[in-house]
Symmetry: C2
Subunit: 470 residues, 2 copies
């Protein structure tokens, strides 16, 4: 039942490749066998946390890996141990991972809302940093010992990854592994949106939603590399001081104020560039806020993420309000609407490398610097995801592959036990209610409103998360 | 009945201002009084073709002006004489016009398909060149005698125009008035599409439809100012030699070949920038031809123009096939869709001036040069429009305010007489057919297919125009 039985594999290379592992089917969240799928911390405790490079025999080689075992809540990502050395083909490098970055796409993926991640079981993770520990044939520009950043469609949340050498970028002098894991996705995304689609120039104005998030902070820093750019940034009030210091000209608390009105007060004609990670009705608002020759770049559907598990109402609402634009409107408004997602750009490594080179130059010139919100052990991936999803972060949420100290592990285990008990209690209550109502669960798509309500209740009881997301 | 009765006015300044003229209602094209609305050449012959600046008294001041008298065919634009000196307000200049440019929007406007032109009677014309002959108060950067290009929403097809000084641009040394009248609309349009929305960079690829048209030639020349840009250009085969010499890398005869296939043969991954003046289903094709990070810039609906008069089928078809795009598709494709039309950008003179300055620098460096297809007298505006609409031009179609020599006038008059006779004959035949069919014409929008067929027949009989447009 445990992930330790799973054979080693090269998930991270497998673009569209079906996984060869045949782990026992993960129990559904609602099934009575649930307790067997222990949360990450508990399982991690059972796994040998030793460094894999110390194992000499290929067949006894093992490494820890985070595996998405099924779509759902935070506990669906489990720490497992993979055995066997991953194969290294020509043009590839093997990297000992030090730190991994969390991205919104990982949260979407966990809920089954990100089609670029193969079906579970699968290791998520689009970016990490580490040290090259083996190079395949034909690799000329990487050598053992190189410190690198790695960008991949998925599969990087584990201690050892094998990727094409072209997916790695040398870390500049002085960059920490945390910074290196925080940089690729957020900065390439912000860079390509602002400077390729957005064509940002001096004296222009930009709206950055979630300005305290990973992309938001990267975008703010990149805006400041252009002369006299005015940055409007939305975030909850508690984060305003930080984002102001980071370069946001006008902070807007979207929870208490209408951001459209706030922008119009200062810039009545509208804005030159708007970055839209929200989707749905916010895309409409953004479109109307554009100046002539303005560019709206939409890069996500964060509005779809409401709660820990897939919220069908939020998804449907987002679809319903999805922005659709006629060319005649674009022509009459002299406007541009662009879509961006790095996850769909994996065939364009040349473009990405060009952007990365410019970004690393800016880093060396100290014009940009990733801001780390917090670093978590692999065992704590659930809490790390929660922090990001509930928008309690300022900057990047990072996972480290450093072994967790034994003491911390014990504490984690206790916390997890508590959580589990609470969950069971909630479950019992829910079951009772369900029995009372004589409602029977059938297929996912037939549930409609029912599961949403239950999930919400469960979540609220657990930790009373501060929901910042709109 | 004649336009000579129309009081002088400042149509060119009147943004959204209702005209004060109250000329007799123009007869409908189908009405029996049609012969009274003589075509431009005949009327022009009756008008005093003297230079207006020689008349000393303000109240006897008169100048020739082209007036769109109603929506319809080429003969709806008539040469009239306006009396009285146009008022000159602070910040404005009066320009003695030497040459005017024809644009696609003027053709659309004649058919009632361009909402930026006020209702007839109105003087069309978005660009011209000439000499400043008076400056209003507060004008510091223009003086009498300056040779200028003029850009305005409408009203420039006449001998005298009054416009805000900010709508004029000084002509560089050595530029002819024809070049100056050919430059503003086409080059600003091409420039803003390629370099603002398109963000064109070295080694990229561009598709230019109607590469022998005004915008097409301007865009080709501007592409060549960027290193190693590959230009795909569509045009009928007879124009290929010229556009190749002008800088088109790959010429495509869209009449005999599928341009999508032709592009894919050479550039299987697609294109970086596509300029789309066609609309309808061609916009869909363009979208699918985009590379990741590609930009589609749509700037017209030439597909709507089928025949001399409004073709309801073509308009409906264009609407039906009009491109509408969901953000999710944009995100997954990493694509950009932009709309551009200079006619809707008249509030953004600062942006336009910036573009114009760069364009004029390129002209001075001999990197760009407007190509004049042909120059026509005001009396010949119908033929000039026909040449452009039937896509028989290579480069810009220009009107000159130079008086027409008496001999030419006589010839024109004869030609026009012949045309009129033919028209009457066609009309008789049509009327006979209609009577036979006992069909009664009602309102425009109830006619549907009927008028289209008639128009087509009429047109084909007249001159057997080579219809290049798809």
């Amino acid at each position: 039942m445990s992930g330790e039985d799973a054979p080693a594999q090269q998930q991270q290379n497998a673009v569209d490749q079906k996984q060869e592992t045949k782990p026992t089917e993960e129990p559904k969240a609602e099934s009575p066998t649930k307790t067997e799928s222990a949360p990450a911390a508990a399982e991690g405790g059972a796994a040998p946390a030793g460094a894999p490079e110390k194992v000499p025999e290929e067949d006894t080689f093992s490494y820890r890996s985070l595996v998405l075992t099924g779509y759902g809540g935070y506990d669906k990502v489990k720490l497992q141990v993979k055995k066997g050395k991953p194969a290294l083909k020509a043009g590839e490098v093997q990297v000992q991972v030090k730190a991994c970055g969390l991205n919104f796409a990982d949260l979407m993926a966990r809920q089954g809302l990100y089609e670029r991640l193969p079906s579970p079981p699968v290791t998520p993770g689009m970016e990490c940093s580490g040290v090259v520990e083996a190079v395949g044939e034909e690799v000329t520009d990487r050598k053992v010992g190189d410190k690198v950043m790695v960008l991949n469609r998925f599969g990087l949340w584990q201690e050892v990854v094998v990727v094409p050498a072209g997916h790695t970028f040398l870390m500049p002098e002085g960059m920490t592994f945390e910074e290196a894991a925080a940089l690729p996705v957020n900065y390439i995304t912000a860079y390509m949106m602002l400077f390729d689609f957005g064509n940002l120039r001096p004296n222009q104005s930009v709206l950055i939603h979630a300005a305290a998030g990973g992309v938001g902070i990267a975008a703010t820093q990149l805006c400041k590399t252009v002369k006299d750019v005015t940055v409007f940034g939305t975030a909850s009030a508690s984060k305003h001081e930080t984002i102001s210091a980071g370069g946001v000209t006008h902070t807007i608390d979207y929870r208490t104020k209408d951001y459209v009105e706030e922008v119009r007060k200062i810039s009545p004609k509208g804005l030159d560039v708007i970055l839209d990670p929200l989707g749905g009705s916010d895309t409409h608002k953004a479109y109307n806020l554009l100046k002539p020759m303005g560019k709206l770049i939409t890069y996500g559907a964060a509005n779809m993420l409401a709660g820990q598990r897939k919220n069908l109402i939020a998804v449907a609402k987002n679809w319903y309000h999805q922005f659709s634009i006629h060319t005649l409107s674009l022509i009459q408004g002299n406007k541009s609407v662009c879509g961006f997602h790095l996850g769909y750009l994996d065939g364009e490594m040349e473009l990405i490398s060009q952007a990365m080179n410019t970004i690393l130059d800016l880093y060396k010139q100290e014009k940009i610097k990733p801001r780390i919100d917090s670093t978590w052990h692999l065992e704590q991936v659930g809490d790390a995801m929660r922090k990001m999803q509930e928008r309690n972060n300022i900057g990047k949420v990072i996972l480290t592959t450093e072994p967790m100290p034994e003491e911390e592990k014990k504490e984690e285990a206790k916390k997890e036990e508590k959580k589990e008990e609470k969950k069971k209690e909630d479950k019992k209550k829910d079951d009772k209610k369900k029995d009372d109502g004589k409602k029977e669960e059938k297929k996912d798509d037939k549930k409609k409103e029912e599961p949403k309500k239950e999930e919400k209740k469960e979540e609220e009881k657990k930790e009373e998360p501060k929901k910042e997301e709109k």
